[in-house]
């Protein structure tokens, strides 16, 4: 019964999401796009977390994807819609290279290297001034779909669908068992014949490619990229806070967290234009200390307690 119920909810939510542009105006659609973007990023972050690896490099790969997409259009003459999958492939390949070098030593080393990624990509883009536009950034001639609010909304929804689909695939396929085994105990995973290095590489490449895809979608919807706008710490911080608050190691958790925190973020941005990120820092601290399983964990515990009382 529970399974059917959740399927029904998913279906209704999907239909609502698809037809949202016929009900609301431009500003709510804009807010919805931001929420969906952060939701998608949070889900990709969580997908890698399921293997026990923490990436602080979301903003780095997101920004790299954004630049790959913009430069694909400006320098290689790609149509906008081609440049978005190109951004995904570019980030996937970059992650393959980086992952191949650093995933041999995992955990802390991996995290710190990813922490540096946004900064490193930013420096590279600053320095390849002639090709990338340097610190001033680059502007596209026109926004994709001529900037039509509903089409931009569906584009972002498409990006979200890709990451939710990938996350579902990660949950239901063999990858799930491999990643969970690695997270729980590397030694026993290895002795059960799990090839840790290649599974981690797969997870890192897939999540990075999706982050690049989202970067491409983001930048094509706004029509410009500067190092400061696309490598913004926001893109690392908010997904982290969202996934942690909602509940990690699941698809539902980040979705829940994004609905809550994504909407709150829109409001906070207006209240505290400078330094609203402090709220996410505090959320991260509080969640890690007092409810490491997030809201989803608390909900599960309450339901279980209620079930026990019934029985």
């Amino acid at each position: 019964m529970n399974k059917n119920l959740s399927r029904l909810i998913t279906l209704v939510a999907a239909i609502l999401a698809i037809f949202l542009p016929s009900f609301v105006g431009a500003y709510p659609l804009q807010v919805a796009r931001n929420v969906m973007l952060y939701m998608a990023l949070a889900v990709t972050w969580d997908m890698l977390l399921r293997s026990g690896q923490i990436s602080f490099g979301i903003a780095g790969l997101f920004g790299l994807g954004a630049y790959a997409s913009v430069l694909g259009v400006l320098r290689a003459g790609m149509p906008a819609w081609v440049s978005i999958p190109f951004a995904a492939i570019f980030c996937g390949l970059a992650a393959l290279g980086i992952g191949f070098l650093i995933l041999r030593l995992r955990s802390t080393y991996f995290s710190i290297v990813t922490l540096a990624l946004a900064e490193i990509f930013r420096i590279i883009i600053h320095n390849l001034h002639d090709f990338t536009g340097g610190p001033e950034g680059v502007v596209l001639k026109d926004v994709i779909f001529g900037g039509a609010a509903d089409k931009l909304y569906w584009l972002t929804l498409g990006g979200l669908a890709v990451s939710l689909g990938a996350s579902y695939w990660f949950e239901k396929s063999r990858i799930h068992f491999a990643l969970t085994a690695i997270r729980n105990n590397e030694t026993s995973a290895k002795s059960s014949g799990v090839n840790i290095f290649s599974w981690l590489l797969v997870a890192f490449v897939v999540t990075s490619a999706i982050q690049g895809l989202l970067g491409g979608i983001f930048v094509q919807s706004y029509g410009f990229a500067t190092p400061e706008s696309v490598f913004d710490a926001n893109f690392t911080l908010l997904p982290l806070a969202i996934a942690l608050l909602g509940g990690i190691h699941s698809t539902v958790g980040p979705v829940l967290g994004a609905l809550l925190l994504g909407l709150a973020a829109e409001w906070l941005k207006l209240q505290l234009p400078y330094g609203h990120l402090v709220v996410y820092g505090i959320i991260i601290i509080v969640v890690i200390l007092f409810m490491p399983q997030g809201l989803l964990g608390i909900a599960r515990k309450t339901f279980r307690a209620a079930d026990r009382r019934k029985a």
Binding site: Y109, I112, A116, E119, N127, A233, Y274, L289, P292
Partner: protein, 305 residues
């Protein structure tokens, strides 16, 4: 091993001589920068070696101390070198509070939770400062900072050698503390084996708190010194966290001379790149290349053993 380290020393001496002959100021500024890096990395090594926490808020503590120094100097007109002491006290107390309230609760948690926690702490500190004082850059102008020395036709700034002095003080002071004082010996014991230390009657929790506070005081003093030479803004500390980790990882845990050597390598390499207009922008990428080299080296070593 000795042969290997001897060749390493000879090679680096040869490199140093070559650089001196070619561009002496490159070496001088490189050494000064190395002093700064080492003095900031040593406290991180201390925390990592004894409390076993990678503190991703490390640079942020330095930034907070720099702000404390700035406002102390503006309010009372005192010199940053005097304000260094109260600023170090501020970060020591802050470090103690942060330890008691957060890190202590995460000591038994998985390593990844600790990373996320200190990452969140760093964000809370830098964005807290951002809310309070905006992201405007702040600087104190001091006369003695521009002091320079002429040797022949060579002119260079001497003030930044204070970083080297502090790095040396930290290295020797820490060695003295850990091997000659009771509290230091207790800390070392806790670092090596917390359970064993608890059995022989050492208060592990208190030791962790004290070590963390001491490390944050040392970083805080560097924040005050950093302010004498550079402008500060809320995000100024973040690169130092990563560079410090890079240096500690290169040296290996508990290896203070290793941190000094790694700092020299990083400082001088950056200084060489900064010497040319075409390569200047790439200087900040050196630490990333180094850390990837370290990871590759470690993984090869691990596979051999």
């Amino acid at each position: 091993m000795t042969l290997k380290s001897r060749t390493a020393i000879i090679l680096s001496l040869a490199a140093a001589v070559l650089i001196i002959l070619w561009k002496p100021t490159v070496l001088i500024y490189g050494v000064q920068q190395a002093g700064l890096y080492a003095a900031i990395a040593i406290p991180m090594g201390l925390v990592l070696g004894i409390v076993h926490i990678v503190n991703l808020a490390h640079g942020e503590f330095m930034m907070v101390a720099a702000y404390a120094t700035y406002f102390a100097c503006k309010a009372t007109g005192m010199d940053p070198l005097v304000a260094l002491i109260p600023s170090a006290a501020v970060t020591a107390v802050l470090g103690w509070i942060v330890y008691r309230l957060t890190i202590r609760r995460a000591l038994k948690a998985p390593e990844l939770n600790q990373l996320i926690l200190t990452f969140g702490l760093g964000i809370a500190l830098s964005q807290g400062i951002n809310i309070l004082f905006t992201s405007q850059t702040r600087k104190i102008s001091l006369d003695y900072v521009s002091a320079s020395l002429d040797i022949g036709d060579l002119t260079f700034g001497v003030w930044s050698f204070i970083f080297v002095v502090f790095a040396a003080m930290y290295a020797y002071g820490l060695k003295f503390f850990l091997t000659r004082t009771t509290a230091g010996k207790a800390a070392l014991a806790v670092g090596q084996n917390p359970k064993g230390a608890a059995i022989v009657g050492i208060d592990v929790d208190r030791t962790y708190g004290i070590v963390f506070a001491i490390a944050m005081a040392l970083v805080g003093a560097m924040g005050a010194l950093f302010l004498t030479r550079s402008a500060i803004f809320p995000m100024v500390g973040a690169p130092f966290t990563m560079k410090s980790f890079c240096l500690v990882a290169m040296a290996g845990i508990g290896n203070i001379p290793g941190i000094l050597a790694a700092s020299l390598l990083l400082g001088v390499s950056e200084s060489i790149l900064r010497a040319f207009r075409e390569t200047r922008g790439w200087a900040d990428i050196v630490f990333f290349v180094l850390i990837i080299a370290v990871i590759l080296g470690r993984s090869i070593k691990r596979r051999k053993s």
